[in-house]
Symmetry: C2
Subunit: 252 residues, 2 copies
Amino acid sequence: MATGRTHRPATRSRGIPEATVARLPLYLRALTALSERSVPTVSSEELAAAAGVNSAKLRKDFSYLGSYGTRGVGYDVEYLVYQISRELGLTQDWPVVIVGIGNLGAALANYGGFASRGFRVAALIDADPAMAGKPVAGIPVQHTDELEKIIDENGVSIGVIATPAGAAQQVCERLVAAGVTSILNFAPTVLSVPDGVDVRKVDLSIELQILAFHEQRKAGEEAAAAEPGAVIQTPKESGKGPDGDVPAVMPA
Amino acid sequence: MATGRTHRPATRSRGIPEATVARLPLYLRALTALSERSVPTVSSEELAAAAGVNSAKLRKDFSYLGSYGTRGVGYDVEYLVYQISRELGLTQDWPVVIVGIGNLGAALANYGGFASRGFRVAALIDADPAMAGKPVAGIPVQHTDELEKIIDENGVSIGVIATPAGAAQQVCERLVAAGVTSILNFAPTVLSVPDGVDVRKVDLSIELQILAFHEQRKAGEEAAAAEPGAVIQTPKESGKGPDGDVPAVMPA
DNA sequence: CCATCTTTGTGCACGCGTTCACAAAGACAT
DNA sequence: ATGTCTTTGTGAACGCGTGCACAAAGATGG
């Protein structure tokens, strides 16, 4: 999620809830897989299972886009692929720059998922002069000095930051000043941006820490169950097993 | 936040809301930075600004952990660092295996954020025999055949999947069968796991698609403001439904 | 044309998360 | 002590997201 002061409170984009928007790519991926298998139609139940969500949720999500299904039959796969692609803006070409070509930046440049759907790596940018000209994923790395020119000439509006944390804010400001209005940030820092600029953050270590929290909890409960005398702060569970109703983590 | 969401439904672990848990690492990072600058105390307002959240939210988050602040003064930085670390389970050592040492896997292995906080890369695993023995980030890659043995001997409970999508589910099943109960998945697939196993997903292309959605909306609004009445991006109806499609832009 | 069956689309209720606003608590000066 | 000032901790209201459950819509068969 965007971490800085990033979200405009009002203006629910055309009435489509943010939670729904976040799931559309998931549906799109499942639909694409079906399309490749030449499946003509799919029911909300089947598609929901493939995407790992509740079928009622999926139907409600689709209802925000319009009535694209046929009662008694389901959804036309090809048609839905097109509608969701259009809704997400994937029918147009999005030039993207990646700043910071270290291990992660190189991985991103090589990542097939980008090119596959509307996104095109317009340039790779790094501050290290030694990197300049060196090709990564078939694209020559350019020096940070060229940043503004590259963005302007290619009409780039989406930037990916894969620099060390220390450089991120500065890079961000240059990107924004040059005209970028959407940023995907991999650096472990909170970016501050002006209104009108979207920031989404991907933080590897945060994800791991969240997993560790749950892992610890699981371990604690186990220990408590095995040795009732141990004082591990767990909620009193009326005698029966600890947390008897832990739901499936992911329907998947 | 990263990710695609992969939410855990209810089950407020020990009464701490999931949303709060997801923010604790953020607070921890901000606090660590303050600690390194030897700042003794910090107010909720300052810390909230540093973490990029609302101060009331931060105070409520902390209230779930206990009353660690001093009214009229703020929070003791060192004390809070310790409390949050303990809460997240970072005071113990978490051995982690990374499966799939491609570009991304290598980037993860080199990522400093892991080792810095409780996490230790116990092993790198890849299916390619040619990779075996080759050191990445100073750790020799081991073949997938060794997976079960490695997990067992190191007591690994957290696994990171950085394989291609096609291999992810199979790798996941082997990890789970071998005893892993928390998985961080970078492969663009929905993993299905048994109850009791946590999965968090990080999907680069989904994040980009969400940005594209907002970007498209911004562009549409701009155009609509500049030239009211103009129909942006008329979808070309290819065969299907006769419904006169909704324009991609809301009416000015 | 009618009956039946399937599946969508959605009204509704519920619970979680966010935010406001303020009383309580402590620091500090007088 | 007493009063003032700062900042925490939280009750309460509100809004969003989720999931149930069902009526409406269309397909299908007789």
